[in-house]
Symmetry: C2
Subunit: 283 residues, 2 copies
DNA sequence: TATAATAATGACTAATTGGTCATTTGTCAA
DNA sequence: TTGACAAATGACCAATTAGTCATTATTATA
């Protein structure tokens, strides 16, 4: 659908300038030269637009980098990684600006989940690359190294994203390759252990927080099936009494409720120790 | 005033959770247990609250770090720097979260200016420290080194700020000292030159952009003095005809207009090559 | 050309926003 | 107890928001 694509592109421009919350649907439709009604023919809500937009750009961005690093016979994977990353950030600069600007994604569970998901994909790409390049010798420091690389990318991209100066991506990539290489070969201390990494990628949620969320959703939701499922899950959380199969079924009941996506994710994790595809702890 | 302090603290909590835009004055007053009117007795607007809040935390934060690095007889300034920085980030964690979340500060010229200002202060502290530590040998790579350090702080703090796991600040600081030291001693390539740094710290604004802004403000503002000053400045920008003293006076005329803060900053910079305290290009 | 089907409109709603101000409440000294 | 002054209230305002829907315009088919 052409209209949909037009809206996505124009909206991305506005979002990048002003952020999600500060950009109104009105503004978007005016900028597209269409009516408000037409917007809601393509997207059922503003949030759906935002989610599509992120899905769209992020999957493309990640796959470009993954391809550059892994699927080519490649004698300088580290250079390729940096190079493709910065080229990708420039290409998707609106999305990148948005990511820097609007980490205030707290206004939507689903959005938060999606961003976390793509972030963990990036982590994994970097880690695999490092392991392939340096092997056992960086076993102890690899997570720190990964964070340093992410730091490099963050600061340097922040520098050029909001400053349309000409950019020598090749030189930038070379200096970052050197830095990464130096760190890989000389670092002895490490701060991030494997355990820590797992905790961070999948932080424990305090039981009370979970109970609070459940309580809130119970009051918020009217559909009887979902409501009862939530009540039962809450009881089970307070005092485990149900079999895993029943719990899994109850979670399934609430899975597709638009207000329960994040809660579902947390319950799966806390009660079933189960994970969405691609976000399981690294083995 | 006690009330003012109460509002600042409570508002900071809410802002850190939800961001500036997503937090309403209503919400703040309810959370404080005061009326809406009482809020406007302490602050003339929501924006004034945000500005005070940033002023409050940032000046404290920066001075703590500056003191730790410079004003102590200190045999490990780099360690102190990292240590104090992370301790400071933890102490002001709400402000720190807000900074990560709400880089969408575009909704206020003054806010943008303030954040830029504190950012450049940090840059300078780091640079001075590096110069003192490593002297001439890092002359070519010091700006890159500074950006790496900022990257370290960004990623590592992002890791623990949203994750109230216990944190060994001392170990973290030590590993970052090692990394910084390794980079300082082995880096040969550099990406950021002195020139580039100056451009970035004080980006050139295209003349047309400035004219556009002027035009917009002229239409927007009713006060006759301010309006005429803007018109004259616009003419001078198109074809320089006024003496520096007159220009300076005209700029002074608009300086305190709430809608002209950012414009004033840019005009000073473009026409007078003058800078607010502490933001002048490094000599 | 006439009819059916789809696409697009924009006035409308209900809710929320930042901000105001006439009114009430509380606290003093006299 | 009174009166004067400051502190605090919350109903109210205009503006803006996301989202709806009866109406109109456009297109395809017969």
């Amino acid at each position: 659908m052409v209209k949909r694509q037009l809206i996505i592109e124009k909206a991305l421009e506005l979002f990048a300038k002003q952020g999600f919350e500060a950009t109104s649907v009105q503004q978007i439709t005016e900028y597209c030269g269409i009516s408000k009604g037409a917007f809601y023919l393509s997207f059922k809500s503003k949030e759906e637009l935002i989610l599509s937009l992120i899905e769209h750009s992020m999957s493309q961005f990640i796959s470009e980098i993954d391809y550059a690093v892994n699927n080519m016979q490649n004698d300088r994977p580290l250079y390729s990684f940096f190079y493709r990353t910065f080229i990708g950030l420039l290409k998707h600069s609106n999305m990148a600006k948005l990511f820097i600007k609007d980490q205030g994604y707290s206004f939507s569970d689903e959005l938060f989940l999606k961003i976390r998901y793509y972030d963990s994909l990036t982590d994994r790409i970097i880690l695999e690359m490092l392991e392939k390049l340096y092997g056992e010798e960086i076993e102890a420091t690899k997570y720190d190294l990964m964070y340093c690389i992410k730091g490099f990318i963050q600061t340097y991209s922040g520098m050029f994203l909001f400053n349309e100066a000409p950019l020598d991506v090749s030189l930038l990539s070379q200096t970052l390759v050197e830095k990464t290489d130096i760190l890989a070969k000389h670092s002895t201390l490490s701060f991030i252990s494997k355990d820590m990494m797992e905790v961070y990628e999948h932080p424990q949620i305090a039981k009370e927080t979970l109970l609070e969320m459940l309580e809130q959703k119970i009051n918020e939701i009217d559909e009887p099936i979902e409501k009862e499922s939530l009540v039962l899950l809450k009881q089970h959380l307070i005092e485990p009494s149900l079999s895993p199969a029943i719990v899994k079924g109850l979670i399934e009941n609430i899975r597709n409720h638009p207000h329960c996506k994040w809660l579902t994710y947390l319950l799966r994790k806390e009660i079933l120790n189960d994970w969405p595809d691609g976000t399981a702890p690294l083995s």
